[in-house]
Symmetry: C2
Subunit: 313 residues, 2 copies
């Protein structure tokens, strides 16, 4: 099956043509989620048309266009339901109508993390599994769940993709979602600078000299023997391990796929999560496999074909 696919993030969008498990052509555009979706749509349509033109693949051969969206979307009707500071005008836009008019294609939308799970399942770390939890460590913590070959969506399309908003500390930090002590408000890229600055002893740490406090920096400083950096990473690993166990208890998967930008330091993270899951998850049937995502930034694009296939059955 041939499809058009767009992975729409807050700071960039990747447009692509995908055949089965292969990305045939792709182009990444700079985006600005806070600027809204409506002014960005013409560039997205142009990009898809250009890809078609350059690759010699006619859009009329595509089964549809799939939009991977960084918010909550109704996969049945093609509407965006809710956003969190990115493309906040999207719920009011008739995306299926836009797609039909501009590209002449049927339209489907899905949350980007759910698409990434589908992508990892057809072409990556979750191949061969029908029961999967995906956890992405990045700016926030994303995720998705599949039970018995079906994406967990829920009544309002929220289930499974709010993994970063399971409570990990009942008296923790206020999260951007409004709740208290969510996993992502305890340990994610957006909270890391605050977490560091408020950590006891931060002023004595080498971290104080860093301008960009992300996890790559934290780990680099830790590797020089910095005790504070080590404590902060240990805290984050505690949070991620607790979340991993919670997600396993919630969705009962065979495999937990870990992705997201922070997993560039997988060698520091994966062994710890794996050991905690091994020791602490209550899975009398056996052990959940904990693996790194394999499709990288193509995962969401690769989820486009299985998504369309789901709706064509």
């Amino acid at each position: 099956m041939l499809v058009g696919a767009i992975d729409l993030g807050g700071t960039h969008a990747t447009c692509a043509l995908v055949r089965d498990t292969e990305v045939l052509a792709r182009e990444t555009l700079t985006a600005c989620g806070s600027g809204g979706l409506a002014p960005f749509l013409p560039r997205l349509a142009t990009s898809i048309r250009n890809l078609s033109c350059r690759s010699g693949i006619s859009l009329s051969d595509c089964a549809g266009l799939v939009l991977g969206f960084c918010g909550i979307a109704d996969a049945d009707s093609g509407r965006v339901l809710s956003t969190n500071g990115k493309y906040d005008d999207a719920p009011g836009i008739d995306l299926p109508g836009w797609c039909e008019t501009e590209l002449g294609l049927p339209f489907r939308i899905e949350n980007d993390a759910r698409l990434a799970l589908l992508g990892e399942r057809v072409a990556g770390a979750a191949r061969g599994y029908d029961d999967v939890v995906m956890m992405t460590l990045g700016t926030g913590i994303g995720g998705a769940a599949m039970i018995g070959r079906k994406l967990v969506r829920g009544k309002h399309y929220q289930a499974g993709c709010l993994g970063g908003h399971l409570a990990i500390h009942p008296r923790g930090r206020r999260c951007t979602c409004g709740a208290i002590g969510c996993a992502e408000s305890e340990a994610s890229t957006w909270v890391l600078p605050t977490l560091c600055r408020e950590w006891p002893g931060f002023e004595q740490s080498e971290l104080v000299r860093e301008t960009a406090l992300d996890f790559a920096t934290l780990i680099r400083v830790m590797e020089t023997g910095d005790v504070i950096a080590e404590q902060i990473l240990a805290h984050c690993l505690d949070v991620w391990a607790a979340l991993a166990v919670s997600l396993i208890h919630a969705y009962d998967p065979e495999v937990l796929v870990m992705g997201g930008g922070i997993m560039k330091s997988a060698d520091r993270i994966l062994p710890v999560i794996r050991e905690r899951v091994q020791n602490f998850a209550w899975t009398p049937w056996g052990k959940v496999r904990v693996v790194a995502a394999e499709c990288g930034d193509q995962a969401t694009l690769l989820g486009a074909v299985p998504l369309l296939e789901e709706f064509q059955v």
Copy 2:
């Protein structure tokens, strides 16, 4: 539909005959989960036969026997999969064979919390809802989830019913399940005595004179103005509220039904959970209803008919 139903707990078992949403006859037996299931089966069969005899309802008119089990069970094959200190011999028992031989009835098994959710849905607080989370506060914390009219079961029949084992504190207490800082190892009846004794200032509290430290006692002492008791209840409410929000984020329900023995003090608990869910759950579509269970100790029995119906479709 007429069915036989057994609600098998660790300290007692209730046998019943149920027609649609009405318990026609019931009998409660003292049980001993640590003594195993095999020696108890003859008494269960006798009880069901006696109920039939006394009520003038022939067992041959029953569509089947449903066992609500306090552990993880395979609803498809009728096998117990795993236990946690109660009826630990059950995974080795051919329960469908026993039921056919002793009672001449088809057999179904399901986790007791999942049956309770079905019971509340046909005859209690979840009537009219297809997307439900149930949370039972008792000796431990139980639960179940339904999405789109289907019980959430998962690959190994664990999904949805380990709600009490979502992590609420990444460096919390060791739970009986093996994990760290589960909701039920932070706030449930089994942990309450330890929680109280380790609370700073416990020796100055009136609680020190109590022999049985359960939640009824805690609340009674708190109502005399005891500050320590108030702090401990506040801690437990924090944990339960965080869990409620997590379960809503995980399963995306329209209604959260709260049951279990601790809910005898619902007036102290429900308003707090309701307010926290209102303020902290991320549900842009609207507000999740938070309600008390209505079926009490009949919920599991009332789940028997909808369970059999599910498998007859």
